[in-house]
Symmetry: C2
Subunit: 342 residues, 2 copies
């Protein structure tokens, strides 16, 4: 309850500073972050002096049960806009992610500005949020170990399926994203879909659990040939040195540069085709991220993945990923070894 | 290939009619519908005389492999906007679902209008799309039957899990939405999350498979007490009569009214807390829907669910759902009986 009020208080301060009267939230995890009620259908959460959520009729039972702030049933845009205008609201902030069609409903009646107040607040995790992410990671890593993947001769999609099952049996509510189990040449696709085909070598697994709403995210690649080991060593060096470089006060892009420079030194810069990492929490992808262009200053309480990779089209790919929570330095969450071997 | 060109040709005709030079697509299933490439990261698909997709670096391998139209690697908004301007583009249509922050990147350089050209085209399914939905339904219904749910004494989340597994073993790529297995009082929540608790009575299951990108959707409720049977009969009557009422030429809201009037006649109108149905295809929720406000005229080739329900808070809920494809009348897809008993 205290935390919820703090979240709203912080936004009210942001609104006052920017001379804005109200803030409209529709993204499910933002509404959950503020109210503890996660919509299953649409919802309009308005942060103002007396915050309110307009929920779908079909969500009223769950919203009344979970929400820390007042909930009213959504009847129509006309009714909702009328109530906001009666409240004296003339200018309204929206989330950057708001669909254009929803923006259109509000734009004629209010002065609109796009603000990322909630995203900004969600960057810094509370101790209880971090402990949920730690628990999600523990569940996911234990499930991975229990599968004993190197001693199986299954299809990619069977292994993916069994991994999800093991996570749920270990206490996860579900997977935090579509589990990637890919092998052989397919592993050069960063977002490969598990196929109904026997595991080849190498095997790349990218997986995570959700615990109490919070996500985990890890990747391991199990390599075999000498050349695969060579590439693995480069990615591991980028992974380790990027993590060691993380500390409050430096920019996110500086961490990306540490990983990218190492991979470049070995001649594979154009084979590292994504960012070095992303924040996670209630969503699997949050801001900030360790990317070339992200100049966000790293702060204590951020939880970000580090996942360099090298992708050789037609041959194979290697990616290694851990999630770190940032205090005076970066602490790796979980304790799964980077090298998985027999 | 022919179909893909037809899809693009239809949009080019829409653009010409509205005197618009280009149409920006970013919704993954819209990009897939047009190009056969489904993004795994962001992508900007521009339909114009020479259509083009700007894809993320990490998607280039898969985009080049699958796309029917030219793919270029996205470098930056500046580069992309510059190329569009060099092409002489001055006015641009966007999807209603486009995030506000993306709209902001385009709004200063182009005259923007929001258009649902692709959504409109996706309303009418081709025979091959319908056959994918039929196959997805067959997989999902066979999986349901194979579970023999009434003779199990498992937890809700175990049953949900086994149902997904059976769908994948039957050829689904994945579930088409988070499988709902809910029982006892929880069944009064339309979007209940399966719990780690023994099945109570009644049992409500809402599930679907994805086959070749296309979704299926069904709900069955297994009732026990006399009162539960009484409610089930009302919902079944609404389900059957709504389906019988469907034909090309009438409005979607008329079908909703058939179901709603029956439930109202029995005194449960305020307990039917959602629409009567939604279209499905590449997405689980598409337009049009059988809702109070949807005045879309029903046409041959539409595929829409019919899913009336009665939800008694604190007691239980009953929902019955089939998906129909519309020809001269509505044909129920699949052959699973509505009443599931021992």
């Amino acid at each position: 309850m205290l935390i919820m009020d703090l979240h709203i208080d912080n936004i009210l301060k942001d609104l006052e500073k920017d001379d804005i009267q109200a803030y409209l939230l529709t993204q499910f995890t933002n509404v959950e972050y503020i109210s503890n009620y996660k919509p299953t259908s649409f919802a309009f959460c308005i942060i103002k002096e007396n915050p309110i959520i307009y929920a779908s009729k079909m969500d009223m039972e769950i919203a009344n049960k979970n929400s820390k702030i007042e909930v009213r049933e959504f009847e129509s845009f006309d009714v909702m806009l009328g109530e906001l205008k009666n409240d004296g609201i003339k200018n309204l902030a929206i989330e950057p992610s708001l669909p254009y069609s929803t923006y259109e409903k509000f734009k004629d009646d209010f002065t609109i500005s796009s603000k990322n107040y909630v995203d900004k607040q969600r960057m810094i995790k509370t101790p209880s949020e971090i402990s949920n992410i730690e628990k999600a990671t523990e569940i996911a890593q234990n499930a991975f170990v229990s599968l004993d993947i190197l001693n199986r001769n299954d299809c990619e999609n069977t292994v993916a399926f069994d991994l999800v099952k093991a996570m749920i049996e270990n206490g996860a509510s579900k997977e935090s994203f579509d589990t990637i189990v890919t092998s052989g040449a397919n592993s050069s696709l960063p977002h490969a879909v598990p196929q109904n085909k026997q595991l080849e070598r190498p095997i790349l697994i990218d997986w995570g659990a959700i615990y109490n709403g919070y996500c985990s995210d890890n990747t391991r690649t199990m390599v075999y040939s000498e050349f695969q080991h060579e590439i693995w060593d480069i990615v591991a060096e980028a992974h380790d040195k990027a993590i060691k470089s993380i500390k409050p006060g430096i920019k996110c892009c500086e961490v990306d540069k540490v990983a990218r420079d190492i991979i470049e030194d070995y001649g594979y810069c154009d084979k590292f085709i994504h960012s070095t990492g992303h924040s996670l929490g209630l969503d699997i992808h949050e801001t900030p991220g360790f990317s070339i262009r992200d100049e966000t200053i790293i702060e204590k309480g951020m939880v970000i993945t580090v996942e360099p990779g090298i992708y050789l089209e037609g041959e194979f790919g290697v990616r290694l990923e851990d999630t770190v929570s940032i205090d005076k330095q970066a602490n790796i969450i979980g304790n799964l070894p980077l090298m998985i071997d027999e």
